[in-house]
């Protein structure tokens, strides 16, 4: 047996295929065999891009009418598999939709799931995934046993995205069957947080604030610095949980993974779950009162000092340059 048929759960935002999807498609291609994309929604606008990145086919449920994707997409996929089209491996992004669809499908197919992966390799008919644990210091390689489809979810930015130049993927309808008692969860309104400047997970420069800022109002120093450097502002989980800033700014294991050119951590101690989200930054600057803060273990430039003194002076110096 070889791995010859891989599905990738694909997503689009504002009509464009997400970078995360392109990363998974690129990796799937490298594993050999055919790659198909799976879309919860209408695929006509994205079939060309999906094809460019290696998908020869895309299964599309059609518009979900506001239904949460978990039960709907999992049921549609189970129906395709029951109909005889069985993939060896299904790759999901490690985000809300990906996790929910994968979870429901795992029950329907009675298959295990492995999440938080950063790599995958294939050897004949066997698939091995790699997961970082303990804040990324230890790597665990796990091989799926038994038969497929193997279900695996991958952290964002685990792979590079590269176009292959293929033609548009063939769209195959995968309608959502009657969901019975599992249906009914429906989105009635969408609220998007207003933000100016580059997106947090795409910015070249990220300035993040943590508990060391002392109080919610002081986050404005982080905002101002991010703006001065034309970057994005981020936050530690501690201040998101405290309600100082919205979750969309959270960097870390359960927030966004960022890999900017420069990451400035202000008043952040460097809990392992935060480090998971920013360790891949090219250059890290940390400012913290505590010389023992774990963040200094990964900073290229560490300043042991009070953010309330350092940040205003830094801002003034930058603004003075004009």
């Amino acid at each position: 047996m070889t791995i010859s048929n891989i599905w990738v759960f694909a997503q689009a935002a504002d009509g464009d295929v997400t970078t995360g999807t392109l990363e998974l498609l690129t990796k799937a291609r490298s594993l050999g065999g055919t790659v198909s994309a799976v879309v919860g929604g209408d695929a006509s606008a994205v079939a060309a891009t999906l094809g460019e990145y290696g998908a020869t086919r895309v299964y599309a449920t059609g518009d979900l009418g506001g239904a949460l994707p978990g039960a709907a997409v999992a049921s549609a996929l189970a129906a395709v598999i029951d109909g005889g089209d069985r993939p060896d491996l299904i790759m999901f992004p490690q985000n809300y939709e990906g996790r929910d669809v994968m979870a429901r499908l795992s029950v329907k197919l009675d298959r295990t799931v492995i999440t938080n992966n950063t790599d995958v390799s294939v050897d004949g008919g066997s698939v091995t995934v790699t997961t970082p644990v303990f804040g990324g210091n230890t790597l665990v390689a796990t091989t799926f046993s038994g038969e497929g489809p193997f279900l695996a979810a991958f952290r964002p930015k685990s792979f590079a995205a590269e176009a292959a130049g293929g033609g548009a993927a063939e769209v195959v309808a995968a309608p959502v069957p009657d969901l019975g008692s599992t249906g009914g969860a429906t989105v009635t309104a969408v609220h998007v947080e207003e933000s100016t400047g580059p997106k947090l997970d795409e910015a070249d420069v990220v300035v993040s604030g943590g508990r060391g800022l002392g109080e919610a109002e002081k986050f404005s120093m982080v905002d101002d610095l991010a703006q001065a450097l034309k970057g994005a502002a981020g936050a530690s989980r501690a201040i998101v949980d405290a309600g100082w800033v919205p979750y969309s700014m959270q960097v870390g294991q359960t927030g966004k993974v960022v890999k900017p050119n420069v990451y400035i951590a202000a008043g952040i101690s460097g809990a392992t779950q935060h480090m998971v989200g920013m360790k891949g930054s090219k250059h890290i600057i940390a400012i913290n009162k505590d010389a023992e803060a774990p963040i200094f273990g990964v900073a290229d430039l560490g300043i042991v000092g009070d953010v309330h003194k350092v940040l205003p002076k830094l801002l003034e110096a930058l603004q003075g340059r004009g």
Partner: protein
């Protein structure tokens, strides 16, 4: 209103985690405490039952060695009873098996109007068990809830998204996973702690629930290696003498960021 909350009892996250070298899975021998993510679920359940004018909050948990200390914490907060599934055959269970076990425990309690859970555990981070439970129980679900309100026979949920939040409606009964910070968990009162000691905890095995344990062998996954990741080295660390900001400016200039 009846709400069942899934609670996990985990090794204290303040202590460094350790892998058992013979199985390469997380050691769970020491003290286990209530996962902080689940304290939000327990608090939310207590508030919803209160808002509904009465009812009961019950707990389900799967833990080794008959561990109940985390359950007692949740009972001290105000939950009425719990089912603990403890069975050496369940060691090494994957998320799917855990979901089947917890779903069976929910059914042993006679089901509920609402099943609550955290979005992922603070030791495993798999993040699929609540949704898997919903599928096993044949229920609709809403994950990543920032706020939950009951409106007649359905829920109004604000669901966290990467860009903000969505308003979602969902019929009851349902499974909901709640984010950290969704409510402020109450500290158990002394009276609550004393009362918790005599609240019923039904301890059962997988067999009692009619679930076939898969344990290590049949979990569908096998850990093949554990290695140290290449670690990032620390760079220059200096103390602020009032001029540290100049160093930062120079660093940024060197990178041509400014």
């Amino acid at each position: 209103m009846k709400v069942i909350v899934c609670v996990k009892q985990i090794p204290d996250p303040a202590l460094p985690g350790e892998l058992d070298p013979s199985t390469n899975t997380l050691k769970r021998e020491g003290k286990l405490i209530l996962d902080e993510s689940d304290s939000y679920g327990v608090e939310m359940a207590l508030q919803l039952v209160d808002a509904a004018g009465g009812g009961e909050v019950a707990l389900v948990s799967m833990a080794p060695n008959g561990e109940v200390s985390g359950l007692r914490t949740a009972l001290a907060m105000g939950a009425a009873q719990g089912v603990l599934v403890s069975d050496p055959e369940l060691a090494g269970s994957d998320a799917l098996t855990t979901a089947k076990v917890l779903a069976a425990a929910v059914q042993r309690l006679g089901g509920a109007d609402l099943v609550l859970a955290g979005t992922e555990s603070s030791d495993g981070y798999t993040g699929t068990v609540p949704e898997q439970m919903a599928e096993v129980l044949g229920l609709p679900s809403v994950t990543f809830a920032k706020s939950v309100a009951v409106d007649g026979g359905s829920l109004k949920v604000n669901r966290q998204t990467e860009a903000g939040y969505d308003e979602v409606t969902c019929p009851l009964p349902a499974v909901v996973s709640v984010t950290a910070g969704v409510v402020e968990p109450r500290y158990p009162s002394f009276k609550g702690i004393m009362a918790a000691k005599s609240k019923p905890v039904d301890t059962v095995t997988a067999g009692d629930l009619g679930v076939t344990p898969t344990g290590w062998a049949a979990a569908g996954q096998q850990i093949t290696s554990v290695t140290q990741a290449p670690s990032r080295e620390a760079g220059e660390v200096i103390e602020d003498d009032g001029e540290a900001h100049v160093k930062i400016v120079e660093f940024l200039e060197g990178l041509k960021v400014i």
